[in-house]
């Protein structure tokens, strides 16, 4: 049976009430104590922390982006500087009526539908308190129009800042790279509020990227007291920014721009060194993008145009382009042969072909050069001489000299992407292909084809070291305390022989006669080269090898050129590599370009005059041609809606897909040629596709007045 509930009397009930009321009072007191304790904890123990939080609420430190350090050339000329920039941003959180405000801005700033789409996309992405760029780089009138109406446009921030300016535009694109707003990943990495400050840009590519820590500087701060809605209450103290340091390059800005213009419509590169110091005087890769417009953020349309271009304007060909060096390696070969004991006067008879085993290897001159010594072989670029001699000593004696002169070498230069190429030898082939080195490999390598690959920078270093006889180390950043270069440890007589032979290439009836300089007392020494990039089948060889003018751009031969001057007391050395040039237009071919670039260093007036004569034949200077190209591209494109977003989300130019694809393509053609080489065939079967000597060339109809076949579109 259930226990009967305890029955309460009124008295007991009153007692129970008192007890429980007391309990209730005690509990209330306890809670009161708890609340006071909690408040004491917040206000005393944690006071410092909350004071700080309250201050950071109240005080809004707007960062002032630091002025970026300049990049100047060896004479102090600006290569990258800062110009005043008027910009307008909005802070989405502080906008009262976003649609109305945007509409007003659209009218005041004359924004295009493309701009509006980008702004809307950015506003959706933005974190609210993070400013969104409306426009930058606007004129004073439009800026002022927004500024006077600012009181009625909360959240709109017209700002006067600095923007990067590259006076030479595309000519320095691959040298300096460009700047741009930080992307989301970069911000997430460091959480540095400077990265999301409007108007702040950091280096995205080239020197701007690698020298970022020097160039950036320290931001200033404008401290203001603001309400939660962002309304300014009063201004507190302002700290000024510390500008980034100026970087002095060894580059000669005038030469850089001249070389870029002189390359014309070519897809190519030019590198010039000061022979004594190893200082880089110019480093040009053309065509290029305009770093000014890149730094402002380019449209998808422009990006697509640059990506689609078969002249690969996004690639820095100087450090990223790898080419078979062709006959430009012959002076280096000569040096190696001399070191290996070959006598300079020893002759080889060139009949136009050499039988090795079952194969027949040809000279570029079908009729043959007759008997030649080393000097003549270099002058005439005879293939048979080098086949024969390299066959005798073996390529393993050549490769160390090639490396000594800089081929395959990695240089410590401030560029994030460099490709180093290959100097093959038997051990290398064993490692890479697990097969033995064959005589045909030696023959192919002896004319700079087959497995041999180098970038233009290395070719220029090779020319420099040939000219100086020193282990010259290339530098790009000016360093007054740079130690002098060591000697290479090769007989000075050998160098003299090779230099004289290279002088003969230009001035002694050799293959580079067109490059003869017209500056009194300055003799140019050079070596031409041509690199085959396609397979030539037996069938084609029987029917006659197609001329370059008959081929599509991508299959034409590369034209290469290394030189130094004056030949008897070298001061400057250069390398020029023109992709798929095919020697089709004389003014746009290596000898004349080389001559003019070298002339600039000795006689600026003459060089400029020469440029003024030829530039109109290919459609004017860089800016004019780029504008025309863009207009044509735009006209050919159906306007795409998504073409509006900024370039913040695209990868840096030098690592973009387009560059990857271009290098893949060149790798594929090198691979195809190398396959032939593995089969005991390859370019040596047809000889180096050398241009004829100057005398022969004059007899051919390919002359100055030929249409600019290489001209773009």
């Amino acid at each position: 049976m259930r226990r009967a509930p305890r029955v309460l009397t009124e008295a007991a009930q009153a007692l129970s009430f008192s007890r429980r009321a007391w309990l209730l009072g005690a509990a209330q007191l306890g809670v009161g104590g708890l609340l006071i304790g909690r408040m004491g904890w917040l206000a005393i123990a944690e006071n410092e922390r909350y004071n700080l939080l309250s201050e950071s609420n109240r005080v809004n430190a707007t960062l002032i982006p630091p002025r970026r350090g300049w990049i100047v050339d060896r004479y102090g000329q600006p290569i990258a500087s800062n110009r005043t920039d008027f910009r307008v941003d909005v802070i989405p959180d502080r906008l009262r009526e976003p649609d109305r405000v945007l509409e007003i801005l659209r009218q005041l700033l004359r924004l295009t539908p493309e701009d509006m789409q980008r702004i809307e996309a950015d506003m959706k992405k933005a974190a609210g308190f993070q400013p969104v760029e409306i426009v930058d780089n606007i004129d004073w009138e439009r800026f002022a129009a927004v500024q006077v109406r600012q009181p009625e446009l909360p959240g709109v921030a017209p700002t006067r800042g600095f923007a990067r300016h590259y006076p030479a535009g595309a000519a320095v694109a691959h040298l300096t790279g460009y700047v741009g707003a930080a992307n989301a990943e970069q911000y997430k990495e460091t959480r540095d509020p400077l990265l999301v400050t409007p108007g702040f840009k950091l280096g995205k590519d080239g020197l701007e990227k690698t020298l970022e820590p020097i160039l950036r500087g320290k931001p200033g701060a404008k401290r203001i007291e603001v309400t939660a809605r962002g309304k300014l209450v009063k201004e507190l103290a302002t700290r000024v920014d510390t500008p980034g340091r100026t970087v002095h390059l060894t580059i000669d800005a005038g030469l850089q721009e001249y070389a870029a213009r002189r390359l014309g419509t070519n897809s190519g590169s030019a590198v010039v060194f000061d022979v004594k110091s190893g200082e880089m005087l110019c480093m040009v890769s053309m065509p290029a993008y305009d770093p000014n417009s890149f730094s402002d953020g380019i449209s998808h349309l422009e990006w697509k145009m640059l990506s689609d271009d078969d002249h690969v304007p996004l690639m820095n060909k100087v450090t990223q382009g790898l080419y078979p060096p062709g006959s430009t390696v012959k002076p280096m070969n000569g040096l190696a042969l001399l070191a290996a004991g070959v006598k300079a006067e020893e002759r080889v008879f060139c009949s136009g072909a050499l039988r090795v085993g079952t194969g027949v290897f040809h000279c570029h001159k079908r009729r043959g050069h007759g008997p030649l010594n080393l000097r003549q072989a270099i002058e005439q670029s005879c293939d048979i001489y080098f086949y024969e001699m390299v066959r005798r000593v073996g390529y393993d004696r050549i490769a160390p000299v090639a490396r000594m002169l800089g081929l395959g070498q990695k240089f410590d230069l401030p560029f994030s992407t460099q490709r180093y190429g290959t100097v093959p030898d038997s051990a290398w082939k064993q490692r890479k292909y697990r097969s033995d080195w064959k005589v045909a490999d030696s023959l192919n390598a002896s004319i700079g084809q087959g497995y041999v690959l180098a970038n233009p920078l290395q070719l220029a270093v090779m020319a420099t070291r040939l000219a100086s006889g020193l282990d010259t180390i290339p530098t790009l950043l000016r360093d007054p305390f740079k130690p002098g270069a060591r000697a290479l440890g090769i007989d000075a007589d050998h160098f003299r022989i090779i230099r004289e032979a290279m002088y003969g290439v230009v001035n002694g009836g050799g293959t580079g006669g067109a490059a003869r300089m017209q500056v009194p007392g300055v003799g140019l020494a050079a070596k031409t080269g041509t690199a085959q990039v396609r397979r030539i089948t037996m069938a084609e060889r029987r029917g006659g090898v197609l001329s370059n003018a008959q081929l599509p751009f991508k299959l034409r031969d590369h034209a290469l050129f290394v030189c130094f001057a004056p030949y008897d007391n070298p001061r400057y050395a250069a390398a020029i590599v023109l992709e798929h040039n095919g020697h089709t237009v004389r003014n746009l071919d290596t000898p004349l370009i080389g001559r003019d670039i070298m002339t600039y260093l000795f006689d600026r007036e003459r060089a400029l005059k020469s440029l003024a004569e030829v530039e109109p034949t290919w459609g004017g200077d860089i800016r004019t041609r780029m504008a025309a190209q863009e207009a044509a591209y735009r006209a050919a494109q159906v306007p795409v809606a998504e073409a509006a977003a900024t370039a913040d989300d695209v990868p840096a130019a030098s690592v973009s897909n387009a560059v990857g694809a271009a290098t893949d393509a060149s790798n594929a053609s090198a691979e195809a040629v190398a396959r032939d080489v593995r089969n005991g065939e390859g370019p040596a079967r047809v000889g180096s596709p050398e241009p004829e000597t100057e005398a022969e060339r004059r007899a051919t109809p390919l002359a100055d007045d030929a249409p600019a076949a290489g001209a773009r579109r």
């Binding site: 009430f17 009161g32 909690r38 939080l53």
Partner: protein, 368 residues
Amino acid sequence: MRPALPAPLAGLPWRVLLMVAAIGGFGLVVLFSAANGSLRPWALPQGVRFVVFLTGAVVLSRIPLDWVRRAAFPAYGALLIALLLVEMLGAVRGGSQRWLDLGFIRLQPSELMKLAIVLACARFYELLPAAETRRFQAIWPAAVLIGLPAVLVMLQPDLGTALMICAGGGTVMFLAGVPLRLFIGGAAGVAVAAPLAFMFLLHDYQRNRVLIFMDPESDPLGTGYHISQSKIAIGSGGLFGKGFLNGTQSHLDYLPEGHTDFVFATMAEEWGLAGGVFVIAAFLLVIRWGVNVGVKAETRFAKLTAAGLSATIFYYVAINLMMVMGLAPVVGIPLPLVSFGGSAQMTVLISLGLLMAIDRDNRRSARW
């Protein structure tokens, strides 16, 4: 000897009235500062209302306690109907609504229900024979009395008020002598039911508030903003505060609702821990007086009513302060007499009037 004051005035509990006036007056000072040193728009209307309601409370203290006893159930019933009406109007108009527009006043029945539930429960336990107290018959009618309005208020949805109705009614049940194990079991039941209610009963925004309460820093710019900013205001106040009119959190609008639910933070920023201790101590003294009035009361109804009303005032203060100090989720309970707004002011001052009426009754019976 002639008394210094006429009898009706001398009979008033002056110490408590002064205490209440001090709290209210301090509240006006805080509201004056919250409006950036201006009587408008808050301090002046609040002050006028305070005087009117306090006078009303004094008048209320003169009515015979028997009237209150008789009015308990009818008032409860009327308010329950009003709650239903509010709910129906809300359903018809679409969207939630908490008040009835009677033309001359916007009546918020749930606010008055906090008082009515105490009166109704007290009345019920008075009617219940003492011997029945520990039986089931002592529990279920009270549970229904509390449950109906609580559910209706919950549907509005107003979690804070529903909680206060339950707490007020529950306190009366506790004081009436309902077995303790019921409360212990009830607490266990809440522990089980709370997660379920959290999952299924709460609205998204309420669920969010609870989650944010658990971790306010997780969303400092969203829903956790209230709690974070309130803690910053209190914490940065320190021992004696930043000084009158010098609070940055409130004046620069970082503290949301700085004149209503979070008025305590506004006060604490300028007056520091000292101001906080003053407010808490003053409320505790008023509440202790109220409980004592209950202990001294003769009748069961008076006892339960006095202690229940004191507890209701206590719940207001405790829930609000826990909320602003980050010890409870944001539930929208104002700090009575200090927060701007007439409803809570009216409720608390009616309670005070009723407590004074019981006090007067006590003294009269003591004299006889």
